[in-house]
């Protein structure tokens, strides 16, 4: 608007600061994306379909130092993870042997399956993308856009019909 006369030195500094900020902005977007990326990791202790490995009877599996899950043969459990890199510790209940592995999860999926027998046997890859055949859908809500009652948890007030013309 006004014809500010800006010292060229200040102007270049500003250019740097501003472009730096733009970079920081995108960096932050990426960082939040990477750090916040959530996964469901299924931890599976079953025989492989091709018979390559056999389930182990009794393991304790702990991801990122969280409380260990106890899995016996044929068990499957799930854990929620955030971020791509994780440390998995598997402890065999039988002999107390500990195996520590670091895993790196791909960005393009939300659900993966970690096969404990494969991990213990050292077969790569022991983490695979898990595809649900039939996604279960919460029933009872279909076609959108009605002004009807909405979130069950919200303050009741929000549920009275708004005056949308």
């Amino acid at each position: 608007m006004s014809t500010e006369i800006i010292d060229p030195k200040v102007a270049t500094r500003r250019l740097f600061v501003r472009s730096g900020l733009v970079a920081v902005y995108f960096l932050l977007l990426v960082v939040t994306f990477l750090l916040g990326k959530g996964y469901t990791l299924l931890i599976d202790n079953k025989d492989a379909a091709d018979g390559s490995v056999v389930a182990i009877d009794g393991v304790l599996v702990s991801v990122d130092g969280a409380e260990a899950l106890e899995l016996y043969s044929g068990d499957r459990d799930a854990t929620q993870l955030k971020g791509q890199r994780h440390r998995v510790i598997v402890e065999l209940i039988s002999d107390g042997k500990k195996i520590e592995k670091s895993i790196h999860l791909p960005l393009d999926t939300d659900m993966l399956l970690l096969s404990v027998p494969k991990l213990v046997a050292g077969i790569e890859p022991f983490v695979e993308v898990f595809v649900l055949r039939d996604q279960p859908r919460p029933a009872g809500e279909e076609v959108g856009n009605t002004n009807a009652f909405t979130s069950p948890d919200s303050e009741a007030l929000e549920t009275v019909e708004p005056p949308v013309p």
Partner: protein
């Protein structure tokens, strides 16, 4: 001081608005530290000259001007007031340009606040700087000091007396480090005598600091008191440019109003006889913004044309507006000896008064409606004319045919240029709009007609027609007319008596044949006969 050349020179400036010459070859110079008094009647071209000096867009929009403005010998051309400010010209307007909710300090440094850069400057620019309130206050105090007046830097403008507002404005202009020329447009108009004294003292102090000042005022004794030189504008011509020393107020007044052309009385030689007193007004006060009436008493006799003259802002316009109930008013007004209730426009109309407002577009017309409506409306509402009954008396609706007939009558009588009575009022020219306003007033057939600034903003030909119409109406129907106008010549041409209003009071009443300087003196607050103002100059 006068060792160098002139700081500002106005060099052969001419300006016309649509063929209407407003400034004609005006030249003068201004030296550093000099105070120049610029005087002239309304419409003499003062405002236009200042608009040119200030680079107001209105000038460029209307075709620019001829001539040059030089500062320090360099020609300058401003495309906006901000350019003028950058070049060191400060202006104090008649209307305060202050923010009421801000303190003195904040107003003085408005948009030029002292700032300390903050870390966000590099991100979002200078507007993220933190205000340095201490420094702002220091600067404000310095400016106040420079003026030599007492102002509380932390007081809210809304709580200040008017005089302080004026000083705040001036202080704002002089805090600009570059300001070398200061233009003050009627700075004392709103001030009491004692405050005006302080202001004049402050101006002299500023001048002694080397600031050149253009001082526009209608109070001629102030001009003679403070100015070094006086320039008198009349009809767009710089009629006089002379040092003040040895010049009397009377001289300036006669230069101001003196006409080269002799006035032509429409009613030359006619013996006028008037009926009994029709209107009497005692101690009228009117609260009309910018045109306050304080204490006015007069009476009008039947068949007479009484004129009210005086400079703008002195209150002459408030008189008809107050009597007609458009603005809050008090005092005693009697029509035909009967008290007129004030503040009731309807009653005023019902008892036989009518008013042609000076604010043609704001009050006078329904711009978005047809001429028929405009002319017939008041008569319809007040007197129930131009209505017809339909459905066996169930409804009374507008009688468009009658309205049309009436409108056509007045179009013919006043020679209104329009396509049809159904044309919208906003599509007419100013002169024709004025005729419609007159027609509206005539249509109610009033006993007493107030006409306010009937020729404002219309061209010369139309002016004459409008005046003739008023004059003829008075002669033909014996209608008493009270006419208010800023143009003395106009009043002198048709009025039987002329009252001059100054500072909300009647300064004196003169016959139209009185000498021009007499009028000039009355307007300048120095009444010759019976004025209560001082004659100190």
């Amino acid at each position: 001081m006068g060792q160098q050349g002139p700081l500002l020179s106005i060099d052969h400036i001419s300006k016309e608005f649509y063929g209407n010459v407003v400034l004609n070859d005006v030249s003068f110079e201004l030296k550093a530290g000099e105070i120049l008094g610029l005087v002239g009647e309304n419409g003499a071209g003062k405002t236009t000259l200042m608009h040119i000096l200030f680079g107001m867009p209105v000038i460029a929009d209307t075709g620019g001007f001829k001539g040059r403005i030089c500062i320090d010998g360099q020609e300058v051309s401003f495309s906006s007031p901000f350019d003028a400010l950058d070049a060191g010209i400060g202006m104090v307007h008649q209307e305060f340009s202050l923010i009421p909710g801000f303190t003195t300090t904040e107003n003085i440094v408005l948009n030029r606040e002292s700032m300390k850069p903050s870390i966000l400057n590099d991100v979002f620019g200078d507007r993220m700087s933190i205000l340095d309130r201490q420094d702002m206050k220091k600067r404000a105090e310095a400016a106040i000091e420079k003026l030599g007046v007492k102002l509380d830097p932390d007081m809210l403008v809304s709580e200040m007396p008017v005089g302080h507002k004026q000083f705040t404005e001036i202080a704002r202009e002089i805090t600009r480090s570059k300001t070398r020329i200061l233009v003050l447009d009627e700075p004392t108009a709103v001030l009491a005598e004692s405050e005006a004294e302080v202001l004049l003292k402050a101006l002299r102090k500023l001048a002694s600091l080397g600031i050149a000042i253009i001082f526009i005022s209608h109070r001629l004794h102030e001009v003679t008191e403070v100015a070094d030189r006086v320039v008198v504008l009349r009809d767009g011509i710089a009629i006089k440019d002379t040092p003040v020393a040895g010049v009397s107020v009377r001289d300036i007044a006669s230069w101001m109003v003196g006409r080269s052309v002799a006035t032509e009385r429409v009613s030359e030689g006619e013996a006028r006889e008037f009926g009994p007193e029709i209107l009497s007004v005692e101690h009228l006060w009117v609260d009309m913004p910018g045109e306050t009436v304080r204490d006015v008493s007069f009476s009008v006799r039947k068949g007479e044309i009484l004129g009210f003259g005086g400079l703008a802002g002195q209150g002459k316009l408030g008189i008809p507006n107050g009597i007609m109930g458009l603005f809050q008013a008090g005092g005693v007004v009697r029509l035909h000896g009967k008290d007129v209730p004030l503040n009731e426009p309807r009653t005023a109309l019902e008892i036989g008064m009518a008013f042609v407002s000076e604010d043609r577009r704001g009050v006078g017309l329904l711009l978005d409606e047809s001429l028929k409506w405009n002319i017939a409306f008041t008569a319809m509402q007040i007197q129930g004319k131009y209505l017809k009954t339909i459905l066996g008396g169930l409804f009374r609706i507008r009688d468009e045919a009658e309205m049309r007939k009436l409108t056509e009558e007045y179009i013919a009588m006043l020679d209104v240029k329009c396509t049809s009575p159904s044309q919208k009022a906003k599509e007419l020219s100013g002169g024709n709009q004025q005729k419609i306003c007159l027609a509206k007033a005539f249509a109610v057939k009033p006993d007493l007609l107030f006409v306010s600034e009937p020729t404002r903003g219309i061209d010369v030909g139309a002016k004459k027609l409008v005046l003739d119409t008023i004059h003829r109406y008075n002669r033909d129907y014996g209608t008493t007319i009270v006419m208010v106008s800023s143009e003395l010549e106009e009043l002198r041409s048709i009025c039987d008596r002329i009252a001059i209003v100054d500072e909300g009071k009647i300064a004196g009443i003169l016959p139209p044949t009185a000498e021009l300087p007499e009028f000039g003196l009355l307007m300048s607050g120095l009444g010759a006969n019976g004025s209560q103002e001082d004659l100190s100059a």
